[in-house]
Amino acid sequence: MAQTLQRTPVHDRHAALGARLVPFAGWEMPVQYDGVIPEVRAVRSDCGVFDVSHMGELEVEGPRAVDLLQATLSNDLSRLEPGDAQYTLLTNERGGIVDDLIVYKLDEFRFLLIVNASNRNADFAWLKERELPGSDVRDVSDEYALLAVQGPRAIERLGLPPAKPFTFAEGEIDGVQCMVNRTGYTGEDGCELLAMADDGAELWDRVIARGAVPCGLGARDTLRLEVCFPLHGNDITPDTDPISAGLAWCCALDKEFTGVNKLREVKARGPERRLVPFVMEEKAVPRQGMAVVGGGEVTSGTHSPMLDRGIGLAYVPTAMAGAGTEISVDVRGRSRGGRVVKRPIYKREESS
């Protein structure tokens, strides 16, 4: 297997910190430093930093950029002001999900899309094919480094001013210029810092110096699952629709976009199955691909360090989708009990 893995601008820092590096979506990425469990705890209690420079950045520019995006993305961009960001889906004609992404409105004629690493090429090709006269799509991924700094103390540690979720602004961390996006994939407060690729390693050093704990993709996957954020490729795919996945809230069915008619149909008749969060009541760790007795399938599963039990997301028949429903997961031939719960699976207890 002589496949050359891409390396992020921060790669040598990971190696120096003793990270365990693994192939992911064509990149050599840190899966963990000290361990998934301490890294999850650091993000839930204080502040962690993740190198997510493997993610893709697409820029859509021109007087008709907004028209192209309104016609291809599920959420309604018309209400966004420059400085606003929005979670949205790229959908296909069948109403399936090509990718989930965040769109940033840079100005009236310029948008930045931050997309999943594994879908970067597919997304670019998809949008390029549908370009309108007056809308130019460019893959600018190689120009940037992206660091996610997440946790209840992330903003304070970085010395950043308060800002609303899903907004962004130009900023700097100890002299390193970056775009400060108030977004993330952990369910915690924090930001994602987009810097020029050449500044990535220095920005990483500055963020570490301010006390962020280096975290890998293992912790990132666990954190997102604890708060029920779907992972494209697992929980949502080109063959699953957003209504069944519980993502109707980011589908503006009153506007026209690719596949909207299919989604209106699913919405009108009600989905046959739904993506639901569940926790295990018995000791067992659910994993992707395991069957749920009665006609369901686990799409993501792991051990939750915060709950100290198995958790997951599964598609189940609508009749089994209500919170509180008892389910059984086939764990390598053994039936293990669990229960459908409300989103999110993990929520910090409100305390003093």
């Binding site: 899966v31 963990q32 361990g35 998934v36 469990i37 293992g218 666990t222 000791k283 067992a284 760790v285 994993r287 792991t302 051990h303 360090p305 198995g310 390598r332």
Partner: protein, 131 residues
């Protein structure tokens, strides 16, 4: 806290990264430092039934980490006398102390001569070096 890499001299080893401490006609079994390090932080241990039998080279249980699940391979055949309940309750014990508190089961060997064919520490270190 993870243990530092070590392979005690007084143990016998199986190439599937299991160890055995022979005590008369009984043996205590566990997984090696290499195995727990490769798996990462353990979160679940599925033990065999006490009183049941295990067979050399066959799976007798499972250990599961945050990342993956792995069969535990029996280095010896015998009857399961005891399961380490501490590891059932706190699987991370294996990461902290794979040769001590992190033992998995105690057996009565059905064929003590099997022990002669297990690897000594130098032979096992060679297996690790080639893994």
């Amino acid at each position: 806290m993870a243990a530092t890499e070590s392979y005690p001299n007084d143990l016998k080893y199986h190439k599937e990264h299991d160890w055995a401490r022979i005590e008369g006609d009984e043996a205590v079994l566990g997984v090696t430092w290499f195995a727990q390090d490769a798996l990462g932080e353990l979160v679940h241990y599925e033990p065999p039934s006490e009183g049941g039998t295990i067979e050399r080279d066959a799976a007798y249980g499972e250990v599961e980490s945050v990342k993956a699940v792995s069969d535990v391979i029996a280095p010896l055949s015998g009857e399961v006398l005891a399961v380490n309940q501490k590891v059932v309750d706190e699987p991370e014990t294996v990461n902290a102390d794979p040769y001590g508190d992190g033992w998995l089961i105690r057996i009565r060997m059905s064929d003590p001569e099997e022990a002669d064919s297990l690897l000594d520490v130098e032979a096992y270190k060679q297996v690790v070096a080639e893994s």
